[in-house]
Symmetry: D2
Subunit: 330 residues, 4 copies
Amino acid sequence: MRRRAFAFVVAAILWPASVLAATHRLKPTDGHPTFAVRSPVLTVKPGDVLESESLWGEWYEKAGGKWPGEVGPIAIEGAEAGDTLVVEILKVRPNRDTAVSTQGSRFGALVPDEGTALLNAVFPRGRYVWRLDRQAMTGTVDLPGSATKSITVPLSPMLGRVAVAPEGDEAFGGLWPGPFGGNMDASDVREGTTVYLPVLHPGALFYFGDGHALQGDGEVCGSGLETSMDVAFRFGLLKKKEIAWPRLEDAEHLMVAGSARPLSDALRIAFVELIEWLAADYGFDRADAYQLVSQVAVVRVANIVDPLYTVVAKFPKRYLPPPAAATPGG
Amino acid sequence: MRRRAFAFVVAAILWPASVLAATHRLKPTDGHPTFAVRSPVLTVKPGDVLESESLWGEWYEKAGGKWPGEVGPIAIEGAEAGDTLVVEILKVRPNRDTAVSTQGSRFGALVPDEGTALLNAVFPRGRYVWRLDRQAMTGTVDLPGSATKSITVPLSPMLGRVAVAPEGDEAFGGLWPGPFGGNMDASDVREGTTVYLPVLHPGALFYFGDGHALQGDGEVCGSGLETSMDVAFRFGLLKKKEIAWPRLEDAEHLMVAGSARPLSDALRIAFVELIEWLAADYGFDRADAYQLVSQVAVVRVANIVDPLYTVVAKFPKRYLPPPAAATPGG
Amino acid sequence: MRRRAFAFVVAAILWPASVLAATHRLKPTDGHPTFAVRSPVLTVKPGDVLESESLWGEWYEKAGGKWPGEVGPIAIEGAEAGDTLVVEILKVRPNRDTAVSTQGSRFGALVPDEGTALLNAVFPRGRYVWRLDRQAMTGTVDLPGSATKSITVPLSPMLGRVAVAPEGDEAFGGLWPGPFGGNMDASDVREGTTVYLPVLHPGALFYFGDGHALQGDGEVCGSGLETSMDVAFRFGLLKKKEIAWPRLEDAEHLMVAGSARPLSDALRIAFVELIEWLAADYGFDRADAYQLVSQVAVVRVANIVDPLYTVVAKFPKRYLPPPAAATPGG
Amino acid sequence: MRRRAFAFVVAAILWPASVLAATHRLKPTDGHPTFAVRSPVLTVKPGDVLESESLWGEWYEKAGGKWPGEVGPIAIEGAEAGDTLVVEILKVRPNRDTAVSTQGSRFGALVPDEGTALLNAVFPRGRYVWRLDRQAMTGTVDLPGSATKSITVPLSPMLGRVAVAPEGDEAFGGLWPGPFGGNMDASDVREGTTVYLPVLHPGALFYFGDGHALQGDGEVCGSGLETSMDVAFRFGLLKKKEIAWPRLEDAEHLMVAGSARPLSDALRIAFVELIEWLAADYGFDRADAYQLVSQVAVVRVANIVDPLYTVVAKFPKRYLPPPAAATPGG
C-alpha cells in the first residue's frame, strides 16, 4: 500500500515521455465572474505548459470599476472526478507598472463587513496606487497623511485565485475560496510552488487570476498590490488520487490551504488534512503526526477578508522520511 | 490560605544585589496557580537584571501531575497604573535534558475542548518525552507508531507565560492569556525580544513560567516541548505610557499579541493595536497604516488551544521612519 | 418619505384588482440541486396563488439516498432586481405518514463537520423514522436505547427552503442559506407567515422544498422530521423596495433571517437589518430602535448545521406605531 | 486589602433566623467586584430561606458611575466540592421606580467591543431611563429621536448574576459568566426557577446581583432594564452530585446555561450538558437524546455581549419519563 502511495510522487504524475509536452499560449480577452462548469477555452495534456496572463480591467482603473473576472477554464485531458490536478507554477510576474489596493467601506478584516454587520459609521474608503519597478522588483506608495511620505517595499508576486470547477452544479463568485481552490489569497501560490487541486469534473476545468505583486499576511484591508501578471503553468495529473482540500508544495514545505469561517475552522481543516497527508503518503501514525505538526508546523493566515477565510498549514519537508522509510510495507 | 502564600514568599531564596543597575538572583521553590495581585517575592528597580529559572514539577514527571505554577510576582519600583513595564529577555535556555509534550483528551485545537464541546468519543491522550541536547540545541522524539522511528529538530526556546497582575481584583488561572500578558504561548517571547506590558497595579507585579524548548505555530496539540528554563530579564519602565495589549519588539519587528476567542478577534485586536502604535509613536496616519500593514505585516498564530487564543501581528522595523520623522511634534 | 414607506404595507403589493388572481396547480416531478438562474417551470402574476407540493425521493427511503432537490423556479411577472418578492404561506401540511431524521457522521452541531474538522472518531450515524398522525398532527418515534421506549410530540410543519435565484452567476447547493433565502431551516417559515425575499433577477425565480413536520431550535442533529408537504403560496411584489436579507412577518412579529458563520455574525446581520427596517418603515431613530430591540426582541436560532448558520431576530408588532404615527412626515 | 473585605463582612446587617428551615434577612451595604473565594457574609443551612436585595449604586445614577458589585458570598453549611448547590428563586421583584439601560461605546453585540476590535468610529453612547410601574408591572421609556415618542412594555424581572466561587484561585470580574454561573444574563433566572450550580469550594459561596426588570434575548445593546430587586432564595444541596455547567429548571423545562465565545460553542456546551443530563438522570440513550433534543429543544440566546456569551438550551419536561421509567436500574 505504501508503495502505491510513494509511487504517486515519483511516477504517478501522468506526463508520458512518449508524447511531446506542448507549450500553449493563451491571450485572454475576457474573464468569468464565477468558478463553475463551462466549456473550456483551451484543452491541454498532462505535461503541457501554458503561458498566459491574468486580466486587467476597469476595476484597476477607477473606484467602483468592474472586476475583469478569472481566466479559464482550461481542460486537462484525461482528468476525472477522483483525480488530483497538479499545477506547477513556473512564472508569476507583474506585467505593468502599477498596482492598486483599496480598503474600507464594507470589506476588510478591521471594519464591519457583510458577515460582521454592525451599526457603526462606515470606515472611509481608501484607494492606494502603488508604482512598480519591475527591474528592482519593488513597489512604492505615497502615504498622504503620514510623517513618512512614501515607502518602498520588495515585491513577492503571487496569484490570489487558482481553482477547478466546484463540485456538482455549484458556482461560486470570484471572491470565494473553498475545497476547489478559488480566491484563497495565499501568498504561497507563487513561482516555484506546485498546487494540487481535487478534480471534481471531467477535464478539471482550471481557472486563474487576481495577481498580487505583494500581500501581507491576512490581506487585512481586503486587497494586495493588485495588478496583472504574466504566468506560466505546467499541468500534471495524479490518477485516482483523492484529496479533500488544496495542497501546495515548494522546496521547503508541504502545505494545505483550508478555507472556512470562523478562522479557527480554517486552521483546523488545514491541519487535519495535513495530518492525513502525512499519514497516507509518508507513513506517519496520526497521533505521532499530530505531535509532530504541533512542534514544527508553520501557519500562515492567507486571508481573513473573503467570504471564507483561508489558513495555510505548512510542514517542513526536511522532516519527511527518505524514500525507503516512507514505504515500510513496500 | 493566604498565609500559605505568604510563607512561600518568605521561603523564596533571594540574593539581593548591589545598588545601581543591580543583578538579582532568585531561586524559586514554589509557584502560583493564578496571575493575581500578591505580595512580591522580590522588588527590583528599573534597569535591574533578574537571573532566575522557571519551575519544574510533578506535571513534567507523570501524566496527571500537578502544574508547578508561575514564578513571581516581582515588583518594579515606581511602577504605577498607566505606565508600561519593559522586560528585555536576556536569556531563555533549557536547564535539563528532557522536555514533555502531551496531547489529546479535552485539550488542543484538533479535538473537542471545554469550549467546543462535542459528543464524539474522546481522542486518546498522548505523552511524548523529548530528549534535549543542550549543546547541539536539538530535541529528539520517538514516534512509536510511525515508519520514521524518531525525529530530531532544532530548538528555539521561549517562555509561554510572562504577565503582570490583571486589572482590578481579577485572578486568571495559569492557562489564561489576556491584556495582562499571561499564557500567550507566543514563540516570539524569546532571547532578544523586549516585552511591553501594561502596568495595572503598583509595582506591576511581574510573573513568568512555562518554558518551551520549541513550539509550532498555534501549539495545536496543546503543548510545546515543555521544560524548565534558565532565564534573565532586564526591567524598565515607560512612565505615563499606556498600552492596551502586550507589545513585543526584536531586531526585526514591532509586534502586538492580541488574545481572544474566536481567533479572528485575536487577530483584529493585534492589528488594531499595531496600527494605533504606528499612529501614536511613528507618525503614521491610521488609514495609511492600515494600508501598510495589509501589505507588509506578518501574522503568527501563537496559540489556538488556551481559554483565549493568541495572535501576534508583526510590522517590519525597516519601514519605520528614522528618528526625526518619527517625532514630528518632538 | 414616510408616506411612501407606509404605502408599501397597504398598497404597494402589486395585486391589481382589475386582474383576476389565478390559482395555479403544479405537480413537480423533479427538483434542482442548486438555487440558480434557470428557465422557470411556471410563470405567475402578483396576486396569484400556487398550490403544489415539495418533493419526496430516495433520500427519505434509505440511508445514502439522493436528495430530490427543490421545486422551481417559479417566475413572478414584473419582478425586477431591486424589488421585493412577497410570499404568503397559505399552507404547509405533511402529505404522507412518515418522516425521517438522520444524525451523526460529519453533519450536525454536536459533532465535527466539514467546517469544524477534528481528529476524533466519527460519531455514529443514526436514522430515525417518525410515524406521523396527520389527524392528530403528532409524530411518534421509537427510542431503541432508552428507558422511554417511544415518544409522541405535536407537529409544527414548516419549509426548510424558500429562495430566489442568488445574485449574479452564483449557484448555491441546496444546503446553503444566504441573502437569497435558501436553506434557512427557520421554523417560522410556516402557515400564516409572509416571507419577503430580495429580487435579484428578472422574475425573481422562486424555489421551495425541504418540508419539516417539526424541528427543534438550531436543528442541532442536522435534520428535522423530514417529509413531503402540500403547500400553497400567494405571491406579491413590492416594486422598488430593496431589502438586504429575508424578512418574515406573521400576526405577532416582524422578523429577519440572517445567515453567516460564525453564529454571532448571523445574529448581528438579523438585528442590524431589523433595526434598519424599524428605522426605514416605522419612524424609529436607529439608536432608539437599538435600545428597543435590546429589551423586547426574541431570538430564534434557526439552524447551526448548514454551511451558513441562520438566526431569526423578532420584533413584537404590538410595539409598532399605529398608521398615523408611522408617517410623521406624511 | 483583605482587611477591607472583612470589614464589609462585619458591617453587613444580619438577622439570624430560627433553627429548622430558618429564614434569614440580609441587608447588603456593599458588594464585591469579582466572583471569588471570600469569607462568607452569612452561613445558612440547606432548607433555609434568604430574603435580601440586590445592590443599587452610582452606576445607576450617572454615566460612568461605579458598579455596586454583587452580594455575598453566602455559605451553605455542608457544601463540598463535588456537590451541587440548589437555589430556588422564590422572589425577584423591582424595589424602585426607575431602571436604566446604556448602549454604544465599546460594549454590545452590534458595535465593536473589546473582543471584536475594529477601526470604525465609536457608536455613540446612549443612556435610557425607564419608568417602572410596579403595580401594573410595566416599564415606559421615552424615544427622543423617533416618531413614536414613548413605549410601555410589560416587565419580566430576572437576575443577571447568580454564582458560586469559581474553581481554584480564580477570580472573575462581575461581567464574566462561566461554569460557576456568574453574569449569564439569562432571563430564565427568575421567580419560579430553580438554579443548580456546581459546588467548587467548601460552603459553595453563593453570590447574586444585577437585577433586570426586563431584557430581550441576547441583551444586544449590553444592558437590560437595570434596577435593584427584592429577592428570596431557598437553598438546598445535592450531595455527591457533580454537574459541569449551571442547570435551571422551572415548571416547563430542564435547561442548561453554557457560556463561551464564539456563540456556537456556548450552544454546543449547553446541548452536550443537556444530553448528558437526560442520559444520566432520565434513562435516555445519548444518541436517542441527541435525536430528541434536535426536534423539541428550545434555544434562548441569553447574552451576546459579555466576555463569554451565554446560551440556554431547554428540554420540555412533558417528554420526561414518569419517575419509574427514569430509574431503570433503581
